[in-house]
Symmetry: C2
Subunit: 426 residues, 2 copies
């Protein structure tokens, strides 16, 4: 492979002509591919098809004998709390099972903080002149949108292989009491695939914060979403927070959106009993309770953690070849050319790719013009602004395997073309 940065303008021009020819061929194929969102494919959804048969006209009663068709049960069905507290690694009184959307539970936790404050003694954020949030980036666009919508100032924190840059985090939170929290996707992070190290978890749990209502939004969306044979281990943040004397510092979120059905899964929130009691009290003014029939379906279908783990192996069997296809296309087309780097995640839903500075936007536009839709440039940073305009989030779960080969080949062609133009302009 040739390092593009070592080539002469003439050599680059020659390669460019070949690439342009390949690009035009792609355009003539009139393909339409969407790699924008971390959406399960139909084969994955088929894995949970048995959910439909778990509840019917004569099987709708919970273990305690109550009728799951009727009102009641504010924080979830007892057996759902039992099952998913094992997934979240918390006690049964430290979990709330909600509706179909963990984003909704995160959003609602923000809204409660805005209107009522995080703890009994803290100010509602809406009444403060300024609220700031730390946003390890590249990160999840929908997290950032919640902050932007609420007028919370986002501070970008560099994302490393073992989690956020903790030196910067510690310095900032120690000095500024308007910094009220941090967004974290701690395992198989969206989009880089990073897994927070034990050391990072401990530092987050124990660091001194000037704001005494500092809160970690721990979106553990991919706890069991392994791609390989050796699942990564994530240190238990709630235990770490308790040990550090900050039991109420973390709110943990999860869902079965990518375990069962994306539209009709279960969302959950966990944290110290005191945090959950406070949330339960506030929720008692919000709802009479979640859809218990869907909770019953999930408990009966998965039965226990072994059932969930077994399901995730089946997901991995579908997803792994797609992720491998991304790696293989990128390596074949871009390996050794010194114009892009990309993550090799061991789980989760994304591959994060960094181009040369300034190239992400042009690459995404050029791919779109040949029929491949990628997540918009900037999406992985606060305010949709990637300061170096180089990060591209690739979501290989939804398209069929053959489309991924095609799409990634095109993306790699676009990256080379845009990079060559940059080097030539250089």
């Amino acid at each position: 492979m040739t390092d593009f940065q070592q080539l002469s303008p003439q050599e680059l021009q020659e390669i460019k002509q070949q690439l342009k020819q390949r690009y035009r061929e792609f355009q003539s194929k009139n393909i339409t591919l969407d790699m924008t969102r971390g959406k399960p494919c139909a084969e994955q959804l088929d894995l949970a098809i048995g959910l439909f048969d778990c509840v019917d006209g004569s099987h709708y009663t919970a273990q305690d004998g109550s009728d799951c068709r009727n009102y009641g049960g504010l924080d979830g069905l007892a057996e759902a709390k039992a099952l998913f507290s094992a997934l979240m690694q918390v006690e049964v009184n430290e979990i709330i099972i909600g509706g179909n959307s963990s984003l909704n539970m995160m959003h609602d936790a923000f809204m409660r903080a805005m209107v009522n404050g995080v703890t009994a003694n803290s100010s509602p954020w809406k009444l403060l002149p300024k609220v700031k949030f730390l946003c390890p980036s590249p990160g999840y666009d929908r997290h950032f949108f919640v902050c932007q919508y609420l007028g919370i100032e986002m501070i970008t924190i560099a994302m490393k292989e073992d989690g956020p840059d903790m030196d910067t985090v510690e310095n900032l939170v120690a000095a500024d009491d308007s910094i009220k929290g941090i967004w974290c996707v701690p395992k198989y992070s969206n989009p880089t695939g990073a897994v927070y190290s034990d050391r990072v978890v401990d530092r987050l749990a124990s660091m001194k914060t000037k704001a005494d209502d500092f809160i970690i939004f721990w979106d553990n969306a991919y706890e069991v979403h392994h791609l390989g044979k050796k699942p990564a281990r994530l240190k238990n943040i709630l235990t770490a927070c308790k040990q550090a004397g900050h039991p109420d510092r973390v709110l943990i979120f999860g869902s079965t959106s990518k375990i069962s059905f994306a539209s009709a899964g279960l969302a959950m929130m966990a944290g110290s009993k005191a945090s959950m009691d406070r949330a339960r009290k506030q929720m008692s003014f919000q709802t009479i309770g979640p859809d218990k029939l869907n909770q019953l379906r999930h408990v009966r279908f998965f039965k226990n953690m072994a059932g969930i783990e077994d399901q995730m192996k089946k997901h991995a069997a579908i997803l792994k070849p797609k992720f491998d296809a991304v790696q293989s296309a990128l390596e074949t087309e871009l390996g050794g050319k010194n114009i892009a780097t990309w993550s090799q995640p061991a789980g989760g839903y994304f591959v994060s790719l960094d181009t040369l500075e300034g190239c992400a936007g042009p690459v995404i536009r050029m791919a779109a013009e040949a029929g491949v839709k990628l997540t918009p440039a900037g999406s992985t940073f606060p305010y949709m602004k990637d300061p170096l305009n180089r990060n591209i989030r690739l979501a290989p779960s939804f398209p069929p395997l053959e489309d991924i080969h095609l799409a990634m080949e095109l993306v790699a062609i676009c990256i080379q073309l845009v990079s060559i133009d940059k080097l030539l302009a250089g």
Copy 2:
């Protein structure tokens, strides 16, 4: 029948002794009956048992071909919007179909008003020194809890047979711009069963409000919940608001909680397209979309308005005898005694009973001591404080018919005993 207020102390004492004997007999029966909440009974839930069969492992696709198991569709499935816009009597772009709880949608609308304001130009309520809400009472306790939780000052408005006392409402809203809205259950109102007259609807739609972001929370929970053969008609508030030049003044809420399943029904919100667009934009930061499978179930089960109306006739066939039992017990035990009045609703879920002043609390306590649980005294008023301590909400839907006879007999005995003591104390 004897007017208790015309009897001598001696006559009252004699009646009291007989009543005490009957009360003791009740106590010795060790019954346990719950008439606290408007909860459907199992036979009603059985009416929707076909819902379970409407979606299965090979029937999960929407009319547009999309897979309802997967992400998407922020404001609901197109066919669900089509069906329920007919129920709500609005256009399809004027409705949002949510999760399982209309209370949740109302709460969220309040939270958005607190944090972002009601219109693009209005202040977030949380930043205002004072926000007040009009609360026609007796009314629905969960409405009042939302206001109380958010620190919104509630102003009690007298509830008449055709809706709230509009003279008072008009005077208040014209004078005070901190009055930001009003709670309404316009049809078969909780608990009085009142149906708002056309005149009241028009006055609400057209009245001058000092607050330009005044908003009507129109909880039309019982639109199709008729008990008799002649359904009441409710004037369309959205049309009235548009005609009066205030298209964005109303948010309409409804649900199938008491049409299909209480725990697993569908909730909906409706209003002008501009209001809904604003809500949709805010919701796009909150969720990726509702449980579309449950929406699909409902559309396939009910098919159209005729299907819903047919279902409601079956509900009425179960509920009517229970409501009749309440009326008959009250009439038999209390008729002509001049110590209580009660509503005779043509629909909805409640009977509202007024005792002599100061008697509601003691009656509810006395009934509880003999095993019949009633909604706590004061529940139907803001801050749980019934100024005359006389209103009792009766919820006859859940207990079996024979229990209702028993429960109402006991309640009537308690009312007589407490009233006699009051009359004797003079």
